[in-house]
Every structure is written in C-alpha cells, then in structure tokens.
Symmetry: C2
Subunit: 147 residues, 2 copies
DNA sequence: TTAATTCCTATTATATCAATAGGAATTATA
DNA sequence: TATAATTCCTATTGATATAATAGGAATTAA
C-alpha cells in the first residue's frame, strides 16, 4: 500500500494540476481543506515536493505553492519513489536502488527474481506514463461516462 | 517492498517445491540453513503457512514441513497477501479488502483510483500465474540460458 | 525413556508512520 | 514601518509494524 504521505501528495498535486492552471501560489490551508488532508501534515509534504523540484513556493503573505513543471511532466513513479522509496518489490530487481538480497545464493538463476522483475516492469510502464495531466484527463473521461 | 517474512516464506516454499517432490517432512533447520533464513524466525513463518493451509506438518522426531498442495496450485499473490496484506496500492482498488479512502470525495470519477486499479490488475495477472511450479521452471530456464 | 522435533506465547529492540507543536523567517500592503 | 498572513524548519509524540529471539510445552519415533 502507498503511505498516507504519498497518497496525500498525489491528491495535492492532482488538485493543483486541475484547479490551478495559471500556476499562482495556492495556500496550504486551501489545499488542505479541499482535499481533506491534515493541515500540518500537508505542510511537511509540500515542503518535500518543493525540495524535490516538483513544486515551487512563495513565502509570506499571499504566498503558497504551485507546480514547478508541466503536469504532463510529473508522473506517479517519481512521486511514489520520493515518499515510499523504490517501486520494486524486491531490492534485487530495483534498478535505481539495487541491492543484493542477503539470503540469496544465485541471483542470476533466481526464478523469484524473474517474476518480480516482470511485476516491476509492468508497474513502471503504467506509473511512468501516469502523469498529472493524464490523471486529470482520466477523471474527466470517467465523469463523462457517468452522465 | 515485500517484508522479509514474505520473502523468506517464498524462498522456503520454492525450496520445498524444488527439493522435496516426494513431500516428506523436512525439518525447519534444514530449510533455514539451505535458504539462509534465521531459524526461529522461519519457525513462525512456517507455522503461518501451515495455518493458512499451504503447508502440512508432522510433529515430534523426524517431523517437519512439506507442501500441502501441488506446487502449481500455490501462487505468489496468495503468499504475499498472507504476510503483507492486500496487493492493491490503494484501499479503494482492493477487491478483497476494499475500503473507501477517507479523504476521497468522489470515488467514481477519481483518476488516481483509475491508474492504481490498472496497476493492481496487471500485478495480479502476473502474481496469480506465478506459482511455485512456474518459478521452479523459470529457474531451470535461466540456468539453461547461462550455460 | 530419551532425543528430536514442532507448537505456542511472550518479549525485545528498532524503525517507520502519521501527525502535531511552536516559533523563526519572509512578504504584501495599509 | 507595523501588521497580518504566510511558508520554513526542527523537534516531539504516540501508535504500530518489523524482525527477530527466548523458553518451554507438547508430540513423536525408536
């Protein structure tokens, strides 16, 4: 499961992509209320997103947060890695944060690794192409279907 | 990432599928040494697998554990759920353990949910068909390629 | 009776998660 | 320049999960 941090981050980002096309500073409290995220917790999350170069901020009165990049250039894999670490389910199939499994005797012929490497590939295929823009589009398409 | 419990469980099961076709009781210490899993920790894991109906045990002298079912009928999704809970990355896309996301206002048009529902489907497609038999086969096939 | 084993409960140490608290620093504007 | 509104930053907390370990009861084969 995603941590709450990661889920809240995604919700906040999608909110900004959808409601703040002009990229003006939006206050934490505004996002917190709209997306039902505890105020102080969100504060820490947005700070992390800023330090990662995903959000920009303006301090002081009328300050707030806005997207630094185009919504089509921010994807779920990036956000998830930031808060929850590697996407891979085993350290030995991570390609960013690769680590050998301590208990493993022969990585090259490991059938378990083979399976989880496949899982990682498919998961990344989806998460890399799931950008904020894509998610907003999906929402609209779902809303259309319903009416 | 999988917990160590889940990873150790998988390693132990694959070991039994590969090395114990006759399904005789194999002692904890044997599995522990072969697979480099802490003895006492493995003990608890095997007990869980037995309580879940995946392993059988015999007590007393010459006792031990062996597979209860055919290796083709034990898959990764089942084992992972047992130790690490739902496969889904969001509670709202789990179909076994479904739960509404507290903060969510409109599940039906949620683009995030749409993405993670896709991830879950693809992941389960792979994990459901990744049986112990399949994994042993993959190992052999990898070994063949290497020589 | 004994040795070898699983079974079961409790305990521990560490880390992670989910959040809260409080105040410093910054900024717009009246 | 004073003030109100905000982000920035560090520390703390309580709860839960993780990764084990300990010790002995119960069971079984010989």
């Amino acid at each position: 499961m995603l941590s709450r941090k990661a889920k809240y981050a995604i919700n906040a980002l999608v909110f900004l992509a959808r409601e703040n096309k002009k990229r003006e500073p939006i206050q934490i409290s505004k996002i917190s209320e709209s997306e039902n995220i505890p105020r102080k917790f969100l504060e820490a999350i947005l700070l992390d997103l800023r330090n990662a170069g995903i959000l920009q901020s303006r301090k002081g009165k009328f300050g707030g947060y806005y997207l630094q990049k185009d919504p089509a250039d921010i994807n779920m894999a990036t956000v998830m890695r930031l808060f929850d670490g590697p996407i891979a389910l085993l350290p030995c199939v991570a390609s960013n944060n690769y680590e050998r499994c301590e208990e493993c005797t022969d990585e090259e012929t490991c059938g378990i690794r083979d399976v989880f490497s496949e899982v990682r590939m498919e998961t990344l295929r989806i998460l890399n192409s799931a950008t904020l823009a894509d998610i907003v589009k999906r929402s609209k398409s779902l809303a259309k279907k319903l009416k």
